[in-house]
Amino acid sequence: MSKHKSLITRATIVFLFISPVCLAQQSAGQYEDLGQKTFTLEQEFKYFHQKYDNAVIEHYYDEQVEASDGPDRELVRFLSSILFDDFDWWQSIWDQATRDDWAAKASLNKAERSYNFWKARFNKNSKVELLDFIVMREYVCIGFKISNESANYYFMPFVQEHGLWRLDEAFMSTELYQKLSLQVSKSDSADFNKSDSSAE
């Protein structure tokens, strides 16, 4: 009897010690480890590229007007709003999502900071030359340079919203925008030797 009892006790002790080990092993052996993997996504975007032909902006708008006469005209209005120091007009040229984002993060003063960035780079003595007109999917991006400035290349993405061309700030932080901007700014003008008779 006492022999049996001692066997049961031993079995209990063995079980108590071994079972956590078994459970741990079971947990580690739940899976077959198929290893570290890499998935590669290659995205190919088709776009159309036109080079402007000595397109220096000569005339700016002297009041806020709304028209859907083309994304490059809207860029002229964008610059005009800075020239006339009209912050409300300048903000209206950005799309609703951008303005909502600015409003939601009002404490960051994103709109004011962006406006000041532009005011520091463009004024009445600036000469702006349009360089590239890019159509990719629903976006039209316009590349230009400001002459009195350190020859930086600017690339502004417009989308249509309620029939008007508006700037999309969120798109400017995407990899697609950044790679497109880089590729377009490095493009060789020699590839573009014909002029488009259909342009005004």
């Binding site: 052996g29 036109q50 573009f192 342009a199």
Partner: protein, 205 residues
Amino acid sequence: MNRLVKLVVVGFLVVTCAAKSDEPVPYVWVKPTFAASIPLQKNLKIQSNFEYHLYKPNKTTEKVRLVRRKYASNDNAELALTSRMSAIASLDYSWWLDTWTTDSKTLALDYYASKGLDKAYWLAEWKEQFVGRNITLKYKVEYGDYVVMIYNVAQPNGKPSYLDLPLVFTKEQGDWLVSLELRANPLIHFSPWISGKDKELVSYE
């Protein structure tokens, strides 16, 4: 003979130039308003890599064993999957709500509300699609801060469904909870563990 060669050369040049000028100008839906060249069509390629770790459950552990709520836990992704499936299969709507991360729950409920998908809809859906079905874990994917559990809900006849579904978990205050943060992530979209393809090419017009 010389004249013939000249004619051929000139003829070739004329044909070549004609072919070039006959190239159709691509149609672009919007035009510049300042003088510009004709449009050239170009391509931009972007390559993105997604690193993940893949596990396949053993035959003995692939079955999701449902539990009652008082025995449930969200201490790891396996237990969290069990919780989620148990909540659904036991038609416990409030438990199901507790399996979401805070942000994803708000996002999901707002979206469902906009589509008229209320509690009654989900209970009916779960009764139809989950109750009494075998649920199998197919793969476990570790991806950054996320664990994606790929599961299959059997058909009423017990055979596996043709569809393997991903459920994304992330840790919030010590609990593994369901997240919608990867809803637009290409890795989830292409699910290479199911397609078997480690590379995809997508062309956008």
